[in-house]
Every structure is written in structure tokens, then in C-alpha cells.
């Protein structure tokens, strides 16, 4: 049980992006954050724009996911998504620029449909910014939960 690990696979149109072991995964699904530990029951869920945290011992990696679906089965976590970005792949300057632009656009009154797409784009920019900046949550409090 102790040495059991999850196998994470992230598949994008550009091929298998990630294939690695992990102790714990936390991702943003449509209903809120979902944490996955080894021996999780079989689960499928849609993913919304958000951060995927890959926790391995004391190390934590972050990735930005934009939409897609996740499937958990037999300790294999398969994420199918259009876009998955590592922190180093994110253009922070562009994300900041996007954020300012959409924040400004959100201030102006426009049709509901436009507002909706702005809010999606703004959220994406925010996710990118958060992923590429330094970890806000320290690794220590996660380790405690791991020891149980």
C-alpha cells in the first residue's frame, strides 16, 4: 500500500505530454478541486480550467490544464485535454497582458455572451499566472496528510 503510486498520463493532440509516477494529484474538476490518492475508485470527470498539482513526496509540480476529461482506473490517471502547460512553457508576460486586457473589457458593459467568453479567457490568464509564479502553498502541510 505504502509504495503504491499513481501513474499519471496526460494526453494532448501533440502526443503524450506526461507519463510519470505520483503520490497524489489535485486537479480542478467542474464540481471543485478533486484530490486523488492511490487506490482511488474508478472515476471519470470533466475538468475545468485550472491547476493540476502533482505531488511526489515533498516535491510538487504544477501544470495548467484547460478543459478536458480525467479518468481514474486501476491507479492509472489519464487526462485527455486540448492544452496542458508546464510552468516553463507559459509566457508570463502574455498572460499578464491578457489579464489586464480582459479585466478592462469586463468593466465595460457588453452582451452576456461576450462577457462569458471574457470571463473564461480571464480565468485562463489567471491560471497561467498562478502556475508560472512560485508555489503559494508550501509542501509541508501536504506531507502531513500523506503520513496518515
Amino acid at each position: 500500500m505504502k509504495d503504491k503510486k499513481l501513474l499519471l498520463r496526460i494526453i494532448t493532440p501533440r502526443g503524450k505530454k506526461v507519463e510519470q509516477k505520483a503520490d497524489m494529484l489535485v486537479m480542478r474538476c467542474v464540481g471543485g478541486d478533486v484530490g486523488i490518492l492511490p487506490n482511488h475508485m474508478p472515476l471519470s470527470s470533466p475538468i475545468s480550467d485550472g491547476i493540476l498539482r502533482i505531488i511526489n513526496g515533498k516535491e510538487e509540480q504544477k501544470m495548467a490544464l484547460f478543459g478536458g476529461v480525467v479518468e481514474v482506473k486501476n491507479n492509472i490517471v489519464t487526462i485527455l485535454t486540448s492544452i496542458a502547460q508546464r510552468p516553463e512553457e507559459i509566457d508570463l508576460a502574455r498572460a499578464e497582458h491578457d489579464r489586464k486586457q480582459y479585466e478592462q473589457l469586463m468593466q465595460e458593459r457588453s452582451s452576456d455572451l461576450k462577457m462569458q467568453s471574457y470571463s473564461v479567457l480571464l480565468r485562463r490568464a489567471l491560471v497561467r499566472i498562478e502556475v508560472s509564479s512560485e508555489p503559494i502553498i508550501s509542501g509541508s502541510d501536504i506531507d502531513e496528510s500523506d503520513d496518515i
Binding site: I11, T12, P13, R14, G15, K16, C29, V30, G31, V34, M41, P42, L43, S44, S45, P46, I47, G67, G68, V69, E71, K73, N74, T78, L80, S82
Partner: protein, 282 residues
Amino acid sequence: MSSIKGIKQRIANVSTTKQIMKAMDMVSTSKLQKARERLVNARPLFFETKRMVHQLKDCEKAKESIFIKQRKVNKSAYVIITSDKGLCGSYNVNIAQKALRHMNEGKNEVILVVGAKGYEFFRRRGKNILHRIIDITETQMYYDTGLLSEHVQSLYVSGEIDEVFIAYTRFESTLSYLPVVEKVLPISDGEENMRFDSEMTYEPDVHSFLEQAIPLYLHACFFAAMSESVACEHAARMVNMDSASKNATDIIDDLNRMYNRKRQAAITQEINEIVGGANILK
């Protein structure tokens, strides 16, 4: 049959054509390399999404979804993927014929065609072409196929079409391509070899999962089919250009031989004339 000058002109012509074909061959070779790489990367997403949606068939609640449930078929949509440019042998004809044969098995069809060649083919046969897409840039392929899949999905949801087929050319190797017609929607019971035993839970519920999974599945289908087809197109063009430049070499050889024979004949004739003239003077 033709003069020495004429033959010389023809040799020059064929050589120029050969150069063009060689260049096209090289262009296709490098494009094929890129297309193959893209194809290898596009396949996993397609297989995984396919597996995932087929798994949904096991879920009782999902069976009632319009995407899975078989409904009475009035109209079948065909998405046919061809190329914009020619000079790739029988590539376009093969896939168009395959789709045509499939349609003629008593389907009431609407066609969404990708590529100028396929559009011409079906227009000439007076088929019901609903939508056509030409000039898909290869680097923009993922985005463009996304628009296509959204379009198909909205047609399907609105009930204008009751099933969706995709006709594309599957890339097997540089020398072998297989035109195939596959059913995309509704998710048919055809795939019997896929067995699932585990009880899957869907969060928050099956329908919101379907809402996200189906567009991704469609998109992945079209993207993979497009990637396969593009790889085939370049491979076909490469092979055809290669054999065409070989043919050109043969023609040049023949023409050269003919040219030399004519030249020899002319020289012999000239010598004969000189000798004949000299004999008269004796």
C-alpha cells in the same frame, strides 16, 4: 518523325519538368516527415477518447443520451477528407469512390467535404454538399478541425443529421494507404472487442461528463482523421513524383538515343553526299 532541333527541344522540356518533379518530391518528403510526426502524436488522444466514450455504453444512464442511442436514420452525414491539390495519384479518387460506394448502400446523405478535390468530385455527381472546407493550413489543423467538429455536433444535436460517418485515408506506411469509412456518431455497438468490467463513477453526473467528453471525442476523431489523410497525401505525392521523375529519365534516355541516331544518320548522309560528289568529279 521530328527534326533534330525538335528532339533537342523536347529533351530540354522533359528535363525542366523532371527538375520540377524532383523539387516537388523533396518538398513532399520533408512535409511527409512533419505530417508523420504529427500523426504519431495525434493517435493516442484519438484512441483514448474513443475508448472512453465506448466505455460509456456500459453506463445505464448514458445509454439514453442522444450521442449514444441509435435513432431512426433519415439523413446520414459524411465528412470526407481529401486534398486541395492534385498530383498525388489516385489518392483523392480512392477515398471519394470509397465514400460514394458507402453512400450508395441506401443512405440519404449530406456531405461535408474537406479539400477542393473532393468538392469537385461530389459536385460533378450532383451530391448534396452541405458544407465545404478548403485551404486548411497544416499548422492550424487542430483549430480548423475544432470548428468542423462543432459544426457537425450542432447539426447532430439539432436533429438535421442522424448519424455521422467520416471518410479518410488511413496511413499504414509510405507505400500503403487504406481508404476507410468509419462511424463516429452515434457511438455504435460495433466495437465488440472492447470489454469493460469495472464500474465507473461519473462526477458530477454522466451528462455533464458527456457534455465535455463528446466534443473532445469528435474533435479528436476529426483531427486524427485529418492527420492520417495529410500524411497519406504527402506520401502519395512523394511516391508519384518519384516514379514520374523516373519516367522522365526514361523519356530523356529514349529521346537522346533518337537524337543520336538522327545525328548519325545526318552525318552518314553528308559523307555519302561528299563521296558521291567526289566520285562524279573523277
